[in-house]
Symmetry: C2
């Protein structure tokens, strides 16, 4: 008699994400294009790596003094400290008062997994999470799988073609007391001083817990301090928060899981209590986080000359993004594409909304084999001298041929 499988009731799992990429890969059209990669691409269509990273990688491999022992559960302490200083600035209130700390995690998914486990256990009054739509996968799903109710929000105004701070303020106003609010690249959404004050006051009065998602420091404006300055508004209001700090994309280290779950508490004693709980979760998740990426980044951040070299590589990439956006806008103008395309250059960073409606997006994917997400937010570094003409002509067609 054949044996009965233990796994007889296990179904094939549904794929949770990546369906656009999958469809793209299955497409046999020779001129197909994928404009939704998560990371910055070079003009040769390869993932960008900061030039200083390759140099340090070699130096580390040649260093005979290094041992490769297990790291502590918390991770590499020097990596955590260097990254906290990068995030907040050396002289930040939370650093000086010793009330910011972190746990070295396996990338940003690891940071969200760790943070979500903590909040599931210790933030019992509300198990509702707000998250920006574009981050529903994979971070929102981590909360959802753990039993949180996940609500999506979006602050792209498709009519006005801009990121609208008042939309964000409305979402926060309507969000329930005590919920968790995942905040991504908010620096792109130009809040005025009074809007920042209103936002933080609202969060404080409603005891909303901010959980920042920062994986683009230096890739929004190339000014490292500018890109995370908004955290000061939260710090100055005595808000406590978590922050997933990922350093994959701004160094070009994609395969090493370089993340930190940053904790800001009201004082050092509270911080230590939270970190001690997080350590127990991390012990069960992976025991020791991987160190190669962390070691490379620490070497760069702790050496002013190397840090300067890294900053210059960030400036290079930002200049390139601005150039691509200008060219796309100019080509659309020359093609006589209806509408203003200023919103393309008004948005910062690699990922920006094209400002297309769902029919136009569908046209691009189905008719032109140009794969872009439904919300029309693309990675502009996927556009290069080889494909820009085809892409802009396709956008022009999509706009002209799909009038509402």
């Amino acid at each position: 008699m054949p044996s009965l499988s233990v796994f007889v009731d296990v179904p094939l799992a549904q794929k949770l994400e990546g369906s656009l990429l999958k469809t793209y890969k299955q497409d046999n059209y020779p001129n197909k294009m994928f404009l939704a990669y998560k990371v910055c691409m070079t003009s040769e269509g390869q993932p960008w790596v900061s030039s200083v990273v390759s140099k340090i990688r070699l130096q580390i491999a040649q260093d005979p003094s290094l041992d490769y022992e297990y790291t502590p559960v918390m991770g590499m302490e020097s990596f955590i400290q260097a990254s906290l200083k990068l995030l907040f600035g050396k002289h930040s209130q939370v650093i000086v008062e010793n009330r910011a700390g972190g746990v070295h995690t396996v990338g940003d998914s690891g940071a969200f997994q760790l943070g979500a486990q903590f909040l599931k256990t210790w933030h019992r009054d509300s198990q509702i999470v707000y998250i920006i739509s574009s981050q529903k996968e994979p971070h929102g799903l981590i909360f959802q799988d753990m039993g949180f109710t996940v609500s999506e929000y979006i602050f792209w105004d498709a009519e006005q073609l801009c990121l609208d701070p008042s939309v964000l303020l409305n979402v926060v106003e309507q969000a329930p007391h005590g919920c968790v609010f995942v905040i991504g690249n908010i620096s792109n959404c130009k809040l005025t001083q009074s809007q920042w004050t209103k936002l933080t006051a609202l969060m404080k009065s409603k005891q909303i817990f901010p959980f920042f998602d920062i994986s683009y420091q230096g890739l929004s404006t190339s000014d490292l301090e500018e890109d995370t300055r908004f955290l000061d508004y939260f710090v100055s209001q005595d808000l406590e928060f978590f922050c997933s700090q990922s350093l994959s994309k701004n160094f070009g280290i994609y395969d090493e899981g370089v993340g930190i779950l940053v904790v800001v508490a009201l004082n050092n004693q509270l911080l230590l209590r939270v970190l001690s709980q997080l350590m127990n979760f991390a012990r069960a998740l992976w025991l020791n986080p991987p160190t190669t990426g962390a070691r490379i980044i620490t070497s760069i951040l702790c050496n002013p000359a190397l840090q300067e070299e890294w900053k210059q590589s960030l400036e290079g990439i930002i200049e390139n993004i601005m150039l691509i956006k200008e060219k796309v806008k100019e080509k659309l103008r020359l093609l006589g594409t209806p509408g203003s395309w200023d919103h393309i250059t008004e948005q910062k960073g690699s990922h920006s909304y094209l400002g297309l409606n769902s029919k136009q997006v569908e046209y691009l994917v189905k008719k032109k084999h140009v794969y872009i997400p439904k919300n029309g937010r693309i990675n502009f570094t996927c556009i290069n001298p080889c494909n820009i003409d085809y892409i802009t002509q396709s956008i022009n067609e999509a706009v002209c041929f799909t009038k509402p």
Copy 2:
């Protein structure tokens, strides 16, 4: 009014493990010794690294053709395939029939976390886990935190001073139907052919699910095939199982989380269903596992000359372990320490029972500052020419001065 902390109810977490190491570190006695490190140590008291690893590390850093893109959620496919062949042998039934697969995990803790999450969801009929005492921390705690009932077992017979297969068989006989049975370095416990048959038949009839914990392949006998040959008994009985395969200790890559959760199912279709579910858990845990260690190991395993070099380094370490054990036994004999110490050399691998009772262990720790676990199972590679005299004299004292 000062703000009220979100974290006000969060207590300082209790430390779950490492208390012996912590006490050791706090001890100011100059001649203190720690004999419970998890990894093989060199005679200079440093964690052992296979010489071929350093060479490949450098080669990889110099390779301009490598990109450092995100790995798939499953991890590095070439690493998984090479590791499966190492574990089962190229011509194993499960490889040929395409019913063994794996997910690349962040070390063995990651493999247990992933496996436990799967079993929590898909093995609902029994949530009882049996685990050998020495692995209660950290692997048993992963199951416990997830709500499993965890029972410890031990097959060291403190009277007969040997690993007793009949103890193991008794435990399995008494274990409840359908439980999960975590099995560590069982090759050390010399089962006869008929005992193996009895063990696997028992497990099959009671639908006990084996979860192997293999982190020492090549470090038990230096014969890679010999160390995992017992898996064949389970395969030939058509038992399905999980296996945490960790390659940290046998390559000397401790800080990179090189693990695999291996799945053996009755056929390829079942395997793919299980892997698809595991992939969704892995996506939430860390999304992409780290690659540095996996890349080094794959380079070695896929190159016969490098694999030979690695095997030779394993032979070197095993010879050294046998030499240390012989010397310890000889020194105890010369000191006239009561009792036979043959059990030291009869056990294989770095970690073996000294065969001391709890009073003797306490004497060693408290009076002689020689830190060894309560069960008296020490890492013999922590003993070297500099400390062997002090250690054997201390054991002699402990035995002579603590008569029952």
